[in-house]
Symmetry: D3
Subunit: 166 residues, 6 copies
C-alpha cells in the first residue's frame, strides 16, 4: 500500500512554475539597492583608495557574473540566458551610499526580475566586502524592483519611492 | 621594453588579502536582513499558502547552499569550509516582514562575515522569488552584520539598531 | 610530422552528439527511484522527525536544483533550459521506502531524460543524507526512466515494472 | 510584536550539523552501485563500442568530479576537501551490469560517505547517458555504502549483501 | 545630491554587449592550442603511460565540460547553449607537442569563439596536470582561433600560421 | 562471474593522487602567459578604450575567480583553499603583448601550480574576449610555470626563458 503522508503535501512543497505553455517575449527588469557606510569608508570608496582594490570595478563584475547564474542562487528560478545585463553604481555623497542599479533583458518565457535583483545583491555584497575592513557597520538596503516589462502581466513600475524604513 | 601603464595601477586593482601568515582561530558571525511585503503576501507567507511552495523551507536552504559557495559570489573572498551555518526566519506581523538571521562558524584564517551575509541575502532573494507573484513591491533591507568574533580584531557587536532609512 | 596515435582513437573517445540539425520539440520525461531504509529511519522520516530537518522538503529542492545543472553532472549532456521540473515523494509503508518521482519538460533539441534522472538521484542522495545517522544501510535503487516523449524517437513507456533485483 | 509561527518550526526545518567541536580524523568510505542494461547495450559497453565514446573513462571522471562538489548536490553536506577519490568499474557479464565502486578519504571533521555515494551516483548516471541510445530501460540500483571508518562512530561495514529487490 | 564620480566612468567599466536586437544564426568556431613538453613526458603521453591516467581522455572531457560553462570562466560572456562541442588531440612527434583542436557550434545570437577557446585552454591545462610530475617545464602556447562563421561579421579564417614566438 | 575487461585497465584510467599520507606545507607557485595582439587592439588596451570595458580589471578578476575553482576546471586536481592569489598584468609595447603573471600560495598537502596556471589562462581568455572585436587573430601563448616551492620536491625555478616558438 502506498501512503502519501499528510506532511508531504503540507510541508516543504516547492515547485518550479511550469512555463511550457508560455511563449517567449522580450523581458526587461530594473532593480536597485543601496550600500550605506560611515564617512571614512565612503571617502575611501569615492577616492578609489580601498585597500582590496577598485571596489566599483569588482562590484560591477560580481553583479554581472552572479546574474548569469541566478538559477543556482534562487532555488525555484528557471535558467534564463540573458541578452543583456548592466550594473551601474552611483555614489550619493549626502547619504554616504553607493546606489547599485542593474538592468537585465532576455527574450524568454519567464521574467528577469530575479536576475536584476541577484545582480544588485551580489554587487552590494562585493562592495561590503571591499569596505568592511574600514566599517563593520555597513548596511545593504532598499533592494527592490524599479520596473519590469514583458510577459503576461506586462509593464510594472514602482510608485514614488518610500524611503522610511526602507 | 616593458612598460607598466599608469592605469594598470590606478584602475581595476583587485587583490585577495594574503592570509598566509595568519593562524586559524574559531570564527563566528551573525548577520540579519528583512524582507518587507504587502499585507496579502505577508498573510500568504505566514499561512504557508504561497503558490510556489513552502517559502520558509526554500529560503532557509537557499541561504545554506549559497553560504557554502560565498567565494563564488564575492570575487575577493577566500574559500572557507564552514563548520556550521544556520538560517532562522522570524515573521514580524507588525512590520509585515520576514526577518532572516544567519549564523556562520569556522575554524579558519579568515572571518565568516561574508558567509553569514551571503546566507541572509540568498534567503531574502528566495523569499522575494516565492512571493513576487503576489507583491512586486517587496523590499529587501537592513542586511547587516550583528556580531563577529575570532581573528585579529576579535569580538565586534553592532550597537543599538538604527531603523530609520534602514 | 603529425602522427595521430592509435590510442587516441581507441581509448578515451568522448563526444557530445551534434544536435545542430535538430529542431526543438516539446520534450518530457518521467523518472523514478526508491530509497529503502530500516524501520526506525522510515518512521522518523514519515513523522518528519529526522534531526537534520524536513527531509522531504530538502530532497525535493535538491532534485530541482541538481536537474537545472544536469550538464555539470553528466559530462556529455547538452545544457537544457527546463520549462518545468517537479519532484514528488511518496512514502511506501510496506517496503519502508521513499519513492521519488521527477518530471521534466522543455522545448529543446535534446531530450530531458537525464534531467529527470539527475533530479531523482539528487533527491535520493539528499534523503540518504538526512537519514544516514539513523541507518547506515540505506539503499538507493530502481532509478529508471518511466516514460519520455518528443524528439525523433517519440514516445516511450516502460513496460510493467520488474521489481526483483530491481 | 515578533511572532514565530508554528509552521516555521514544524515545516521546512533544515540544518547543517554543527561540527565546530569535532576534531579532524582520518575518514574513509566505500560505496557501490550497479547499472543494469540489456544484452546489446552491455555488449557495446564491454567492447567499448558505444557511439558517444569510452563510457568507462567518462563515468570514472564524472564520479571524481561530482564527488569534489558533493556540498553543491547535497544541500546539508559540509564542504570536504578530499585527499583521495577513486572510482573503479567492473563489468558483470552474468547480470549484464556495470558495478561502480568509489573510495573516498579525507582528514576532516565530517565523514566522506556522501562523497563516495555522490561519486557512485554520478558515474552511474554517466554510464546511463552513454548507453541510453541503445537501451532506454537501463536501471541504476543497489547504490549503498559498503564501509566507512573514522570519526566518533568509528568503523562500520555492511553485512552480507542482500540482493532481493536491491 | 547624487554625484557620479569620474573614476566610476573611467575605471572598472565592464559591460555585457546588449544582443537583444540580434537574431540567432548558426555559429561555428574552431580554435587550437599546443602543449609542448620534454621527451620523457611526450613519450609517456604517446604511449598512454602517464601515472595519473589516460591523459587524452581526461583532457578531452575537461575541454567539453569547461566549454559548457564558458560564461563562468569569462566574465562578460553570454551563456550559450551549445549544439556541439568536439575536442580532438593530435600528437606531433617532431615538436613533442599535443595539439588540441576544439570545434563549437550553436544557433544563437552570439558567437562561440570563446567556447572553442575555453575548451582548448581547459584541455591544455588538463594535459599539463597529467604530465607535470614528469616535466615541470611544459608550455601551453599558440592558443588561437582558426576560423569562425555566422553572425553579423560572417566567416573569418586565420591566415597562414605564423610560428615564430607563437 | 565478475570479469574485469582489459580495456577497463588500459583505457580511460584516471585517478586523483592519494595525498592522505602527506603533510601540509607552505606551497607557492608563479605562472605566466602572454596575450599578443595587433597594433590597434594593443593601443586600445593600453589606453583603456576597449568597448567592453576595463580589460585589465576584468582579466585580473577572471584570474582570481577561476583559480579558486581550479578543481572544477582540471578534472584530477584536489580542491585547495588558497591563502593568496594575485594576478598582475604588464603591457609590453615592443611585442604588443599583455603579460599575465599569477602567484598562488596555500598551506596544503598538494601544490598550487595548477591554481597559478588556471589564473593565468582565465585572465588571458578574458583579455582575449575584451579585445576580440578589434583583432580576431589574438594569440595566447607561453603559458608556463616560472617557479614553485614547498612539498616533497621543494623549490623549482624555470631556466632562462626560451622565446622561440614559445
Amino acid at each position: 500500500m502506498m501512503a502519501k503522508l499528510t506532511h508531504t503535501d503540507e510541508a516543504g512543497r516547492a515547485r518550479m512554475v511550469d512555463v511550457s505553455a508560455k511563449r517567449p517575449t522580450r523581458r526587461r527588469a530594473v532593480a536597485r539597492g543601496r550600500v550605506r557606510m560611515n564617512a571614512k569608508a565612503f571617502r575611501q570608496l569615492s577616492e578609489n583608495r580601498l585597500a582590496k582594490g577598485d571596489a566599483l570595478a569588482v562590484a560591477r563584475l560580481a553583479g554581472i557574473q552572479a546574474a548569469k547564474r541566478t538559477a543556482e542562487w534562487v532555488p525555484l528560478c528557471h535558467s534564463v540566458p540573458l541578452d543583456h545585463l548592466e550594473v551601474t553604481i552611483d555614489l550619493d555623497d549626502r547619504e554616504r551610499a553607493a546606489e547599485v542599479t542593474a538592468q537585465a533583458s532576455a527574450r524568454w518565457t519567464t521574467g528577469v526580475e530575479m536576475e536584476a535583483l541577484v545582480a544588485v545583491s551580489a554587487a552590494c555584497l562585493a562592495l561590503y566586502d571591499m569596505a568592511k575592513a574600514v566599517d563593520r557597520g555597513i548596511t545593504i538596503g532598499e533592494v527592490q524592483l524599479l520596473s519590469k516589462s514583458g510577459g503576461r502581466t506586462g509593464r510594472w513600475t514602482r510608485g514614488p519611492v518610500r524611503r522610511r524604513g526602507d
